[in-house]
């Protein structure tokens, strides 16, 4: 296996609500290597998003450990985690979550600023990234003026702007028609291979399995099955 980018060992997350524990995920052992695209399949409430937020360092595991690029997240300070998210992790959201007050170009440039790039360098770099994935013409538009498919492409441009080691996508095709959905998974697959990044995609869209190196099925917060796959090269 390639060098592991993300490793979960017996990782679990239990949420406390009204004095009662509610299991998000439990006993998850998962390793994602560089250049691999992993698909997390499962129905709503199965724990896909919780698993992504654990990998993003947004929540601390209640049990077990999560490590990115060999560094355990529980040993990091909040500032370390923030820097990790800004420089090494990209996130694509189901609802795109673009900043409506900004143009598409400014949305992409924003994460470059988070990673420490100066204002003067961020905009040209963002423009180059958008051109690379074929959406350079959208740069000046406010995101509220874009179609759903265009929004998700801008969201992906934003997620990969810092060339992250780990790209997490939460239901990235859920708001798209099938044609646009396939375009998006193709972009994510290509990024995994070209950037030698680990890409983890949560979905319940079975058509995307063709692009996965590994398919992990989740049920009631547990990994119910994990199979290797042979995606197109």
């Amino acid at each position: 296996m390639n060098k592991p980018v993300v490793e979960l060992k017996r990782a679990g997350k239990t949420y406390q609500a009204a004095g009662r524990g509610s299991v998000g995920v439990m006993d998850v052992d998962l390793t994602v290597g560089a250049g691999k695209l992993i698909l997390l399949l499962g129905p709503s409430g199965s724990g896909k998003t919780t698993l992504l937020t654990l990998m993003a360092g947004l929540v601390a595991p209640s049990e077990g450990t999560v490590a990115i690029d060999g560094r355990r997240l529980d040993a990091m300070t909040l500032a370390d985690l923030q820097r990790l998210r800004a420089r090494r992790i990209g996130v694509v959201f189901q609802a795109f979550n673009l900043i409506d007050a900004l143009t598409a170009l400014e949305n992409v440039a924003l994460v470059l600023r988070f990673a420490g790039m100066g204002r003067a360098g961020a905009l040209p770099a963002a423009r180059k990234i958008m051109e690379d994935i074929g959406i350079g013409h959208l740069g000046a538009q406010l995101t509220s003026e874009l179609s759903q498919g265009e929004k998700q492409r801008v969201a992906i441009a934003r997620a990969i702007a810092n060339r992250p080691l780990l790209l997490l996508a939460d239901e990235p095709t859920a708001s798209l028609d099938s044609a646009h959905g396939l375009e998006i998974i193709e972009i994510l697959h290509r990024y995994a291979k070209e950037a030698q990044a680990a890409v983890v995609v949560s979905t319940h869209d079975g058509r995307l399995t063709a692009y996965a190196d590994q398919i992990v099925r989740l049920s009631d917060g547990r990994v119910s099955a994990s199979v290797e796959n042979a995606p197109p090269r």
Partner: protein, 366 residues
């Protein structure tokens, strides 16, 4: 950029906020200018009547909020003190001036026209009093009641011709008028009473020794040098007036803080999802705080600009409507208010930034 876009997205709300901030700043500027005007106006009469000593009745410290009664015999004794050149009497009392059916209160000063000591510090129209049936009025008093030189006014049963208008004689809550000493004594009904004496010394006289002699030889008096007497009156004016100004200025500052904090907090709550997304994407805390701070400063600087633009015109309008309100602005005052506003801006931003703590990056996945 994000900070500005959010403000521009709600232009009416942002403009109303800037207007509110500008009004608070105008209020503070106006209070300071009024204070300066009152502070100068209240003691200008004393400041400009430069003399070696002010002599008042024992236990009197000032003329703004005190009563001093001396007799003409005090003046005789003072004049006879070695080293004294003149002891010019002044009689001060509040009285009512009538013009037709209209009447108003004035602080009347009776002085000796022959020496001019204790008379109007500056004549801006007409001339000073030379005869017994003449009066000089403060110019803002005259403007308020549409009185011009040549008009006749009544005080008690006496008709007096207005021969001049004075400046430096507006003490905000009262304005000065000037008549000859004899007329003043006649009006008050006690022809041998005065309020104080302005004492000037002969050239070369030793001040300390003259002062000692006056205190020892003239019974029931207080002797102040000019600087001390001026300071006494400034203190009296400030102790009576400043607390009110401070209270109103503090209210202005609190309102400003409230307006700014409220708007910044509303913006944070409206942009809650954006902030959560930024956090999830790895935004440094200082970036998010910087957004709030930038919005606070943009609003405040716009408010300061607006206030500076309208303040001179507003002051002119107020002085036109109420001539007795003497506002004297200065660059130092404007600079001080700007500093205070910038301090309030930082404080408001700090209060609002605390709301950011309750925004979690997980909200981006909701």
């Amino acid at each position: 950029m994000y900070a500005l876009r959010i403000l521009i997205r709600q232009p009416v709300r942002s403009l109303l906020t800037v207007g509110g901030i500008a009004l608070c700043i105008v209020l503070m500027l106006f209070l300071l200018a009024v204070y300066r005007g009152v502070a100068n106006g209240s003691v200008e009469y004393i400041r400009r009547n430069t003399t070696d000593f002010w002599v008042l009745q024992k236990n009197s410290t000032n003329i703004l909020r005190g009563t001093s009664l001396l007799s003409l015999s005090h003046g005789t004794l003072l004049s006879e003190t070695r080293g004294v050149r003149h002891a010019s009497p002044v009689l001060l009392f509040l009285t009512t001036v009538w013009r037709g059916e209209e009447h108003a209160t004035i602080f009347l000063a009776g002085f000796d026209p022959a020496t001019g000591a204790g008379g109007p510090p500056q004549i801006v129209s007409g001339r000073s009093v030379t005869a017994d049936d003449e009066v000089v009025l403060d110019r803002s008093f005259a403007a308020k009641y549409s009185i011009r030189p040549g008009d006749v006014v009544r005080i008690k049963d006496d008709s007096l011709r207005v021969v001049g208008l004075s400046s430096g004689t507006n003490a905000f809550v009262m304005q000065y008028g000037f008549v000859a000493l004899g007329r003043a004594q006649s009006l008050i009904g006690f022809p041998t009473i005065v309020s104080l004496y302005l004492v000037s010394l002969r050239p070369g006289a030793d001040r300390d020794s003259v002062r000692r002699s006056m205190v020892e030889d003239v019974p029931g008096i207080e002797v102040y040098d000019h600087a001390t007497f001026l300071r006494n009156n400034v203190h009296e004016m400030e102790s009576g007036f400043m607390p009110i100004l401070y209270a109103i200025a503090a209210i202005g500052a609190i309102v400003l803080t409230s307006i700014l904090t409220l708007l910044l907090t509303v913006i944070i709550l409206e942009s809650r999802h954006d902030f959560a997304v930024m956090r999830a994407l790895g935004s440094p805390e200082r970036f998010l705080s910087g957004v709030v701070l930038a919005q606070a400063f943009v609003l405040s600087l716009a408010g300061i600009s607006g206030a500076m633009a309208v303040f001179p015109a507003l002051t002119a309008v107020i002085e036109f409507i109420a001539p007795e309100v003497s506002a004297q602005g200065s660059l130092l005052q404007a600079g001080s208010v700007c500093l205070v506003v910038l301090g309030i801006t930082l404080f408001s931003a700090w209060l609002a930034v605390r709301r950011l703590r309750s925004i979690y990056p997980l909200e981006a996945f909701a």
